[in-house]
Symmetry: C2
């Protein structure tokens, strides 16, 4: 009996004649397919392969066809660490820091997070939403199709709930364009609760987290473990309470001083431990053992005027999965420039451009426990970027410049290049 | 006898309700005028002052009025050091450098400038012009109204003349939008002339420079004094021959190794000595004594993966005038991101945001010996930028992001904000 011809999947959109970087072959391999094609059925990728095999593999009558003309096509970027809902500016603090003042000194002397907390509380819901939408769309215009967004500039139960509801509204506003992944961030102990820390932490655990879980206001709970923020014991209580409520735990760890944050992240089952500028070998081993994603945020190191970057090569050598993100926030990384993140990751974290791209796609998706994002593979969401260059290296080389020609979100083109975008190939 | 009322200048354009940064009060003072206004008659600035004094000072019937709504208004930026006419990419070299290879090693092993020289020679005039126009317009869209453009990827008499003619065509194409200041750059000794260096230098002096001067193909002559390029003695011959032909001499000095370039620049009457990462105290004193502008190019240091930035604070303390520029080129600074130049100048050169802005406006103009550019002052060309923020610090804080809402060149609006531009004020 002859083998019956397998049923070919149907496509609504195909991207042809592309240099594909599938980002699905591990941390150091962009998964390049020159002369590649991707087929999409509505919102899912159904086929990825060589262009010349497309017609035999896919039923594509009536499908929209995008000719990439040799250009690079990658998964939509996954920005797995941002604080993009806030009001106010911290430009004066930036200028002071350039003249030699440290970030911790600024925070301790009443600058820092509290400036943003006050400005955010004073702003209207509409103003907070509008500025967050503008920031998310600037990321989208550069190829970002998924953005994790943290609360954390409220601090009280009521003000954190307000921010999480604004993030919910942001997700609703942008649902066709960008996937918003909401995170509750326990960011700092408010000044008026410093004498009363234990009760404050209990309030977050016993009052706030149940509401967040019940109303599904966040997918994750993140804690800022740092001098001037939460202690390791407080962070553990918060992360365990969050996990018990079904929230994915994650941690800001070892950013400004060594705090054994990596070990705590591994012990509490965190999906990610982010920053890690001061992690040591024991911490690296703990992340590797726990399968915790190391979230690398090089714009913060740059913007804090430091040269102590996270030890990305040691993390990779130990087999720790890594992600790369903007850390967009008004204090330590005020930039939506995605290309700058990639270039600084290469220059300062010593990542190869392919490693940086994988970390900013599949790595970010892993950090968010969203295996359906960040890769070009059948079954994944059809989030794609067509770039105006033909290699991954080019994205990192032509620095801080927008190369995105077209961004596809769930099978629909949601952004096309602005006049002036860099088209260096073709 | 009563004093007769002074004749009020007539204006064709006024910008009102602005936070002016005039950049005409020395290196460390942005010359802020809150509640300021500028009046323009055709292509020149005729009045700068407080908005409330505008009507008494200027006859403005029929003038176009731009309401800045409190936003920052500065002179158009002067990018006084670029190599923006070239073909090809050097992305692979960037990636290799990130993995630890040095720039000099790359150049010596046959990468580096020669890669660009070959690609540039292989490209058509039309392709070179088109890519240069695109790069200049990306700068313009971020507030740059004057761009110095160097030749230097030809190396032979004929190929350098070809590039200078393309730069002339670039100036012609963009004359309404951007002032192009052309420079002949003696960039390197071609490999086939290494045994014959003396004759090669004589050829540049005796054959090429006279043609350049006669046909007015360049305003300046720049020499790359560096290991692997020209020696100090060769540079001196070239600079003296150029000055004798009426070209303004300038020098690439002390970039990768200490070469006593600053002293040579002062001795030969150079308008500027650029790079200076390895300048020492004697060099600083020489620049100060000679009134030579120190051209600071921090994106090169960043992009070369180095931490040895030019000693900007020592230069300022010694009274050396400074300029700031992109150094846009495919080898060591492939970026048109003007905001990144300002932010890295603050973070790494330790300039205050006001110092960075003055260096990127009036400082650049001084480096080009164009006192009519880079300042908001009566008599200057009416090149202005209206920004989407209200302070100079904000430009540096919100990194690598385009804040330009409108760019005025010689009294005409030649660029308006793209969708997605950052509007953080108002």
């Amino acid at each position: 009996m002859p083998a019956s011809k397998p049923l070919r999947p149907k496509a609504t959109l195909v991207v042809r004649n592309a240099t594909l970087a599938t980002c699905d072959r591990g941390a150091s391999d962009a998964g390049l397919i020159p002369g590649g094609a991707v087929a999409v059925d509505e919102r899912r990728i159904v086929w990825v392969g060589r262009d010349r095999e497309l017609d035999g593999a896919v039923e594509r009558e009536g499908a929209r066809v995008i000719d990439a003309r040799g250009g690079l096509v990658t998964p939509g970027l996954v920005d797995s660490h941002t604080h993009l809902v806030f009001a106010g500016e911290r430009a004066g603090e930036f200028a002071l820091r350039c003249s030699g003042r440290s970030y911790l000194d600024t925070a301790i002397s009443g600058g820092g997070i509290s400036v943003t907390t006050r400005a955010t509380q004073a702003a209207s819901d509409a103003a907070l939403l509008e500025s967050a939408v503008a920031r998310a769309r600037r990321l989208l215009a550069q190829g970002v199709t998924t953005v994790e967004v943290k609360s954390g500039y409220g601090l009280t139960v009521e003000t954190e709930l307000r921010l999480l509801r604004i993030i919910h509204e942001l997700a609703h506003t942008l649902w066709r364009e960008v996937t918003i992944v909401p995170t509750f961030l326990a960011h700092a102990i408010p000044p008026e609760r410093q004498e009363d820390r234990e009760a404050y932490v209990a309030e977050l655990c016993d009052r706030l987290l149940p509401i967040i879980a019940k109303e599904k206001l966040a997918a994750s709970c993140d804690v800022f473990l740092e001098e001037g923020a939460f202690t390791a014991e407080e962070a553990r209580l918060l992360l365990e309470a969050a996990a018990a409520r079904g929230l994915v735990p994650r941690l800001h760890a070892d950013q400004l001083v060594a705090s054994r944050g990596a070990e705590l992240a591994a012990q509490t089952g965190c999906a990610s431990a982010d920053h890690l500028e001061f992690i040591d070998d024991d911490g690296v081993a703990a992340l590797a053992g726990g399968g915790v994603v190391a979230g690398l945020l090089p714009l913060s190191t740059l913007s804090l005027g430091s040269e102590r970057y996270a030890p990305a090569r040691r993390l990779l050598a130990a087999g720790v999965p890594i992600s790369l993100a903007s850390n967009l926030n008004p204090g330590s990384a005020m930039s939506e420039n995605v290309g700058l993140v990639l270039s600084i990751a290469c220059l300062k974290l010593r990542l190869a451009p392919a490693e940086a791209l994988v970390a900013y796609t599949a790595g970010g998706a892993r950090s968010l426990r969203r295996g359906d994002l960040g890769r070009l593979a059948p079954g994944c969401e059809a989030d794609l970027v067509l770039w105006g260059c033909s290699s991954v290296e080019h994205l990192a080389w032509h620095m801080a410049t927008n190369h995105a020609l077209a961004v596809v979100k769930r099978g629909r083109v949601v952004h096309e290049a602005l006049p002036g975008a860099a088209v260096d190939c073709r």
